[in-house]
C-alpha cells in the first residue's frame, strides 16, 4: 500500500518494547501456578513478585500495595464498586458517595452511572476550557458528600494533567478516599503515590510498551478493600483468579524500561510536540489546539480543524500511512462526538473535526516532518469540498 507508516496513536496502545518481548519470550516456558508450593510454582511466584517489586518501586509504594488485575478498566471498576456495594464491610470508611470528573474514561463514567442506578450519589465535576477539573467545586461538594473522589491523572484525549496532590488533599480533609486513573499518565510523568497522597491508583501495561490484558491497582495499606472478582486467595484475597504470569512479567519488564527511558523521552517528545504544534499552526489556517498549553502530556497533541470532519481526516491520513485518532462522532459509531472535548466547552463542530496525535518512544524527527507534509494537504483537500469552510485555504 503506502511506502511509509507513522504510528501516532500511542494513547490507544503501544507496540511491545523489545526488552519486554525478550522477557516474554524467555518466560514462555514458565507454566507453574504461582500458588503451588513445589518448584514449578515457586519459579513462577518469584517472577510475579519481582514484577510487583518493580511496579512498587516506580510508584514509591510497598510491594503489598500492588494488586495485579486484568486491565485498567478492571482496576477502575474495582475501586468504584468498593465504596458503594452497600455492605457494612465495604462502606466501613463511612461514606458511599462518588465524585468524579466529566472527562474520565468510560471505565469510570459508565461504572458511576451504573452505581447511580443502584442508589449511589454521584457528582460530576466540570472542567475548564483546558480540561482542568474545578477543585473549588470539589471542595464545596465535599462539605455534604462523603465517599470516594476519582480524578484521572492525565486525560487520554487531550493530555491535560490534573493537580492530583491538591485534589487528594481536599478529599482527605473531608474524610473521603481518593482514586486516580493514571492509565495515561503512568510511565509518561513521575508518579509518587506518597507525594501525591492517593489511596488508589490505576495503571495499565499496554500503554507503556507492555502486553495487553494486564494492569495493576495501587491500594494504600490500611484502606478497606473489597474484591470485584471473588473466589480465590490470589493477590492477598483482593483479586481472585490464577495470576496472568506472562502478563505480569511483561508489565514488570515494561516498567523497568520506563524507569530508564521516561525522563529523556519526555524531553524529546516535548520538543516534537512543540514542532508539530508550531508547524501545523503555520501551515494550516483556522486550527485550534485542545487541552492545556503547559499542564499536559508531552506525547499528546489534540487539534481541531475548522470545516474538516474528523473521520475523513483520519482515513485520508490512514491512506497516507499515518495512524491517528479522532473525537468525531462518525468514527465512534455513535452520533455523539467526544465527551471530553464537549466538556471543555469547545464548539461541537470543533469536536467533530478533532484529531489526536499521540507520540511514543519510537517517534522520530522524520515522522514529524512527514505529518507536517501530509496533514496540511489532507485538510486543504477536505476544506475544498466542505460546506462548512469559507476561509481562504
Amino acid at each position: 500500500m503506502q511506502e511509509r507508516t507513522v504510528y501516532l496513536d500511542h494513547n490507544a496502545t503501544t507496540p511491545l518494547h523489545p526488552a519486554v518481548q525478550q522477557a516474554l519470550t524467555e518466560a514462555f516456558a514458565l507454566f507453574g501456578n504461582p500458588s503451588s508450593m513445589h518448584s514449578f510454582g515457586r519459579a513462577a511466584r518469584a517472577r510475579v513478585e519481582e514484577s510487583r517489586a518493580t511496579v512498587a518501586r516506580f510508584l514509591n509504594a510497598a510491594p503489598e500495595e500492588i494488586i495485579f488485575v486484568g486491565s485498567g478498566s478492571e482496576a477502575n471498576n474495582t475501586v468504584l464498586s468498593l465504596v458503594s456495594c452497600g455492605t457494612k464491610l465495604c462502606a466501613r470508611h463511612g461514606g458511599s458517595d462518588i465524585i468524579t470528573t466529566a472527562i474520565e474514561h468510560p471505565a469510570v463514567l459508565e461504572t458511576t452511572t451504573c452505581l447511580r442506578d443502584r442508589g449511589a450519589n454521584v457528582e460530576i465535576l466540570p472542567v475548564d476550557g483546558h480540561g482542568r477539573a474545578d477543585l473549588d467545586r470539589l471542595a464545596a461538594l465535599l462539605k455534604t458528600r462523603k465517599g470516594i473522589v476519582s480524578v484521572m491523572a492525565a486525560n487520554n484525549e487531550i493530555g491535560t494533567i490534573q493537580d492530583i496532590a491538591a485534589a487528594a488533599k481536599l478529599a482527605h480533609a473531608h474524610g473521603s478516599l481518593f482514586h486516580t486513573d493514571a492509565v495515561q499518565a503512568f510511565g509518561k510523568i513521575p508518579l509518587d503515590v506518597r507525594a501525591l497522597g492517593v489511596d488508589f491508583l490505576t495503571l495499565s501495561a499496554h500503554k507503556i510498551y507492555g502486553p495487553k490484558g494486564v494492569g495493576a491497582l495501587y491500594s494504600r495499606k490500611g484502606i478497606p478493600f473489597c474484591p470485584l472478582i471473588r473466589g480465590g486467595h490470589q493477590e492477598a484475597g483482593r483479586r481472585a483468579g490464577t495470576e496472568n504470569t506472562l502478563g505480569i512479567i511483561g508489565l514488570g519488564a515494561a516498567v523497568a524500561q520506563r524507569e530508564r527511558e521516561m525522563t529523556a523521552e519526555h524531553t524529546r517528545l516535548l520538543a516534537f510536540k512543540q514542532r508539530l504544534r508550531d508547524g501545523l499552526a503555520a501551515r494550516i489556517p483556522d486550527t485550534r489546539f485542545n487541552g492545556h498549553p503547559t499542564e499536559a502530556l508531552a506525547n499528546t497533541l489534540n487539534v481541531s480543524f475548522l470545516g474538516a470532519e474528523g473521520e475523513a481526516i483520519l482515513l485520508y491520513l490512514d491512506l497516507a500511512g499515518i495512524a491517528a485518532s479522532t473525537g468525531s462522532a462518525c468514527a465512534s459509531g455513535s452520533l455523539d462526538p467526544s465527551h471530553v472535548l464537549l466538556a471543555t466547552g469547545i464548539p461541537i463542530e470543533c469536536a467533530h473535526g478533532s484529531l489526536r496525535l499521540s507520540m511514543g518512544r519510537d517517534t522520530t524527527d522524520a515522522d514529524i516532518d512527514y505529518v507536517l507534509e501530509v496533514l496540511p494537504q489532507v485538510i486543504s483537500r477536505l476544506r475544498r469540498m466542505s460546506t462548512a469552510y469559507h476561509g481562504s485555504n
Binding site: 500500500m1 507508516t5 470545516g307 474538516a308 470532519e309 474528523g310 473521520e311 475523513a312 482515513l315 490512514d318 491512506l319 468525531s328 462522532a329 462518525c330 468514527a331 459509531g333 452520533l335 462526538p337 461541537i348 463542530e349 467533530h352 475544498r384 469540498m385 466542505s386 460546506t387 462548512a388 469552510y389
Partner: protein, 203 residues
C-alpha cells in the same frame, strides 16, 4: 499490515480517494436547483446542486462536511443521476447507492442518507423556481405520536440509528409511551424504513 483489507469496500475507498463532481464554484456553475440539508453541529452537512435540461439532470455537483461514507456515497450518487429524468432521480434511495458502493457497515448508513435528501431538495428547488411548484413533493414531517410529538422523520432517524423493534424505537424516540394509539402506524413505518434503508445491503 500492507495486505489488510481497508475499513470500507474498494468502491468506497475509490470514491473517497477520488471524489467525483465536487462543486468548485457555485456562482460559475449557476445551478438550476439547489438543496442543502444537515447541520455541522450534528457532524454532517450536504449541498447538492443540479443543472436541468428537458426534464433530465445534465450535471450534478456537491459539497459536504462529512465523513468518508458521506463523501463516497454522494460521489457515487452524483455519477448515478447524471442523465437521469428528474422523476427517476427523485426515487433514488440510500440503499441503491450503498448497493453500488458494495455496502457500508450498518452504523455508517446514517452518514450516507444526506446525499439523496439534498438531491431531492435540489429537485424540489428546481420545480419551485422553474414554474412547476405543483410538482414539489417536499417531504414535510408528519406527527405520528400525538402524545410525545414524534414525527415520521424522527422514526426514520431512529431506524438509521439502529432501531429495529418497537421497543428499540420507543427507547430512542419515547413514542407510544403514553396512550399507545400510534403503535400500528409506527410499526408500519418501522418496517418501511428498515426495508428502504437496509434491505438491499450486499455485505
Amino acid at each position: 499490515m500492507t495486505d489488510t483489507a481497508w475499513v470500507y469496500t474498494q468502491n468506497v475507498k475509490d470514491h473517497f480517494m477520488n471524489p467525483r463532481n465536487i462543486l468548485d464554484d457555485e456562482a460559475t456553475f449557476a445551478p438550476d436547483g439547489r438543496g442543502e440539508v444537515g447541520n455541522i453541529k450534528c457532524g454532517d452537512q450536504m449541498l447538492v446542486v443540479i443543472k436541468v435540461a428537458d426534464g433530465k439532470i445534465t450535471d450534478c455537483r456537491w459539497k459536504t462536511y462529512g465523513c468518508a461514507s458521506a463523501i463516497a456515497s454522494t460521489s457515487m450518487l452524483s455519477e448515478m443521476v447524471k442523465g437521469m429524468p428528474l422523476d427517476a432521480a427523485y426515487q433514488v434511495r440510500p440503499a441503491d447507492i450503498t448497493a453500488k458502493l458494495g455496502g457500508l457497515p450498518e452504523h455508517k448508513i446514517h452518514c450516507s442518507v444526506l446525499g439523496d435528501k439534498a438531491l431531492r431538495a435540489a429537485i424540489d428547488n428546481y420545480y419551485a423556481t422553474h414554474g412547476q411548484p405543483d410538482k414539489v413533493k417536499q417531504e414535510a414531517a408528519r406527527v405520528i405520536c400525538q402524545c410525545m410529538n414524534v414525527t415520521d422523520a424522527e422514526i426514520e432517524h431512529a431506524v438509521l440509528d439502529g432501531a429495529r423493534t418497537w421497543l428499540e424505537l420507543q427507547e430512542r424516540t419515547k413514542l407510544g409511551t403514553v396512550c399507545g394509539n400510534c403503535k400500528g402506524e409506527a410499526e408500519k413505518l418501522l418496517a418501511l424504513y428498515t426495508n428502504q434503508h437496509f434491505s438491499c445491503q450486499h455485505q
